[in-house]
Amino acid sequence: MAREPADSVRLYGLLAWTWIRAAAQYPLSMVLLALATGVVTGLDLAAIALMFARAPRIAGFTASEVLFLYGTSGLSFAIADIVLGTAERLGQHVRQGTLDAMLVRPVSPLIQVATEDFSPRRMGKLIPTVTVLAVVMPRLGVAWTAPRVLLVPVMVGAGVAIFAALWVLTAAVQFVVIDGHQATKAITYGGGFLTQYPLGIFGRDVVRGLTFVIPLAFVNWEPALYVLGRPDPIGLPAAFRFASPAVAAVLCAVAALAWRSGLRHYRSTGS
């Protein structure tokens, strides 16, 4: 809906804070659950650790480099999940009719769905990824030039936007398709998973698909190639390394469009 972005952010914050306050009445439970979430999120890290316990280099990448990929992708994904992850529940709301209750309010239903059940527990997802990044980055053995240093936060930010846009897209699908939407998890969760690894291991065709069709390669792979000083296995021009913000912007626009048209469809066909 047409409103100031700053306004939306402020409103999001207010709503999230109200939920947090409600959860804070059980502080011990909150902390424990945050830790539990952290551990569950850390399972992927455990898998990578196990793999590198057996082989020093995999697909030509060292443990630090893969952990760097894991950290950046994981951080982007975690933040996007915290902010917009619950949008996935849209299908539930459509089915139960609770979306109508949201439409009666003067706030975008997306914000309402996204802040639902906002709990500090979600923050637990950040623990493994932030820790890993903090530990690994000094050990990467790359020459930290200014562009490289700058590129890391840009990369993470663009990654957040890309994942967030994907979340919104998969939610928008649920306006139209109710039962088949689980397949979209392959894109959101699958995307989060595969970007933890060097995309090179997935084969040229897959990488091309992930660059031009579903732009997951721009979450961390392309910029990381620059940061880590590695050549591109499929030989794309150097400009691609820095294209993440632009790609993110385009994807967000697409997602916004999809959401609006999905909502319009819902409002004309009822439920």
Partner: protein, 475 residues
């Protein structure tokens, strides 16, 4: 405040006919509905299930966009200016809650406050008032899912009024409530309308609500607005008659008396209908004289009876025919005016409605009431017997209503089996003849609770660690 002009809404339904084929049919939910509600009015909105009440409400609030026609609420177009409008109206759904399940009521109201941008001072004051009036104090800190239906409804009302809206729309608010809570809610609404001048549109099956609160009633039937006017006129027009309930000393053959018609018997008890214009006292005396009677009771026409009658045989025919024959044409408060005075309309005089002007009334009548060709104007004298026949005619045209219920799920779930399991969150209660308005017996048990989402598909194949979020065990 509300203006609907020739509003129609139809849905496209896809239904499975055979293993692979699907047919698409267009089902009209609302057809050419027009009415106007002035600011400060208290209007009741009735109709059988599936008639299109909820659809109208949804179009008013911006949830649905009409297929054709124009809707203007508080000067805004709901489909285009939904958020602006939402700030000025409050909506209460009876069958599901607008509150959040897991939060205490107080926090839910805090969320509502932020959503509507009520500033802190105003919020505090308003909350205090609402807590007082609705007696929310005892359970302000209880999670909404643990509230009883009555408490939840009061909470919903508070949430809808926290931002002091100009218009309050209620969709079956008293459904399933106990008598005391109903009384509280009704008193509250009455006061709201009288003191703050909030316009109220009340959709309900409970005719007690209507009788208590509204002077003006609109009835929608099969997608068309069938009646829009005074409650008393409706009662008269539908030709409900007084009922005489006789308890004989022992069961016997049906009682036959002039001026009274036998309806049914159940053991020693018999029900007779006394025609209007007949003196009830004489009938009673007659009965007592001729039969060994243990007890007698005389009942005034029940509004539920009235409406059940209308629902059963199709409103336009009964009302139009009766109205025409009785000569009450001028009394309809139709789309063009003749609307009862805001606030507390009294009596049935509507001096501004141009009584006696048949031509004018015809014009006004057309969009509101469907004249089906059965109602030839009859003189006053023919009134009684004519109406008797019409009322006796057995017509059951309610079944169409059921078709409407189906339209919702097939477009979402292509599998019929889904219907029973979870798609139909808007299932309306079936109306049984004669039991309209029996709100007490039908508890809606947390209808907003997940009506059986598909059996738990835990671990949605997604990333392992994120499945933790999605598995119900870790909410």
């Amino acid at each position: 405040m509300i203006e609907l002009d020739n509003v129609s809404k139809s849905f496209v339904v896809r239904r499975r006919t055979g293993p692979l084929r699907r047919t698409r049919t267009t089902v009209p939910a609302c057809e050419s509905i027009s009415f106007t509600v002035r600011a400060g009015e208290f209007v009741g909105y009735l109709g059988p299930n599936g008639a299109g009440k909820s659809t109208t409400i949804k179009m008013l609030t911006g949830i649905l966009t009409p297929t054709s026609g124009s809707v203007v609420v508080a000067g805004l177009d709901p489909s285009r200016q939904r958020t602006t409008l939402a700030r000025r109206i409050g909506v209460v759904f009876g069958q599901r809650t607008t509150l959040w399940w897991d939060l205490p009521l107080r926090d839910s109201l805090a969320l509502v406050r932020h959503l509507y941008r009520v500033e802190a001072g105003a919020h505090r004051a308003r909350l205090r008032t609402l807590v007082d009036l609705l007696d929310l104090g005892p359970f302000l800190d209880t999670p909404v899912r643990q509230l009883s239906l009555g408490q939840r409804m009061r909470g919903d009302l508070a949430a809808a009024l926290l931002h002091d809206p100009e218009l309050l729309v209620l969709d079956e608010p008293t459904i399933g409530l106990d008598v005391v809570t109903k009384a509280t809610v009704r008193a509250f609404l009455e006061r709201l309308n009288a003191e703050r001048g909030t316009t109220i549109l009340l959709t309900t099956h409970d005719l007690g609500d209507i009788e208590r609160l509204c002077r003006r009633v609109m009835i929608i039937d099969r997608g068309r607005l069938a009646y829009d006017g005074d409650l008393d006129r409706l009662r008269a027009a539908a030709g409900a008659e007084r009922m005489l309930v006789i308890e004989l000393e022992r069961p016997g053959p049906p009682v036959r008396l002039p001026g009274a018609r036998f309806v049914r018997a159940d053991g020693p008890r018999q029900w007779l209908v006394i025609g209007s214009g007949v003196n009830a006292a004489s009938v009673v005396a007659d009965v007592a004289a001729r039969y060994a009677v243990a007890d007698i009771a005389l009942r005034e026409p029940d509004i539920e009876d009235v409406v059940a009658r209308l629902y059963r045989r199709g409103i336009p025919q009964a009302v139009a025919a009766a109205e025409k024959s009785v000569g009450l044409l001028g009394g309809f408060g139709g789309a063009a005016g003749g609307v009862p005075a805001p606030g507390r309309p009294r009596g049935r005089e509507q001096p501004e409605s141009g009584q006696g002007e048949d031509a004018g009334a015809e014009q006004r009548l057309q969009p509101v009431v469907e004249v089906t060709g059965r109602g030839e104007p009859a003189g006053e004298g023919e009134r009684a017997p004519r109406r008797q026949e019409e009322i006796d005619a057995p017509a059951d045209e309610r079944q169409r209503g059921n078709q409407r219920d189906h339209r919702r799920s097939p477009s979402r779930h292509d599998d019929d089996a889904d219907d029973e399991a979870g798609g139909r969150h808007e299932r309306e209660r079936p109306v049984e003849p004669g039991r309209v308005g029996d709100g007490v017996g039908q508890r809606v048990d947390g209808a907003d609770r997940a009506r059986r989402t598909p059996p738990r598909r835990i671990g949605q194949g997604g990333r392992q660690h994120d499945a933790e979020e999605k598995s119900e065990g870790v909410p």
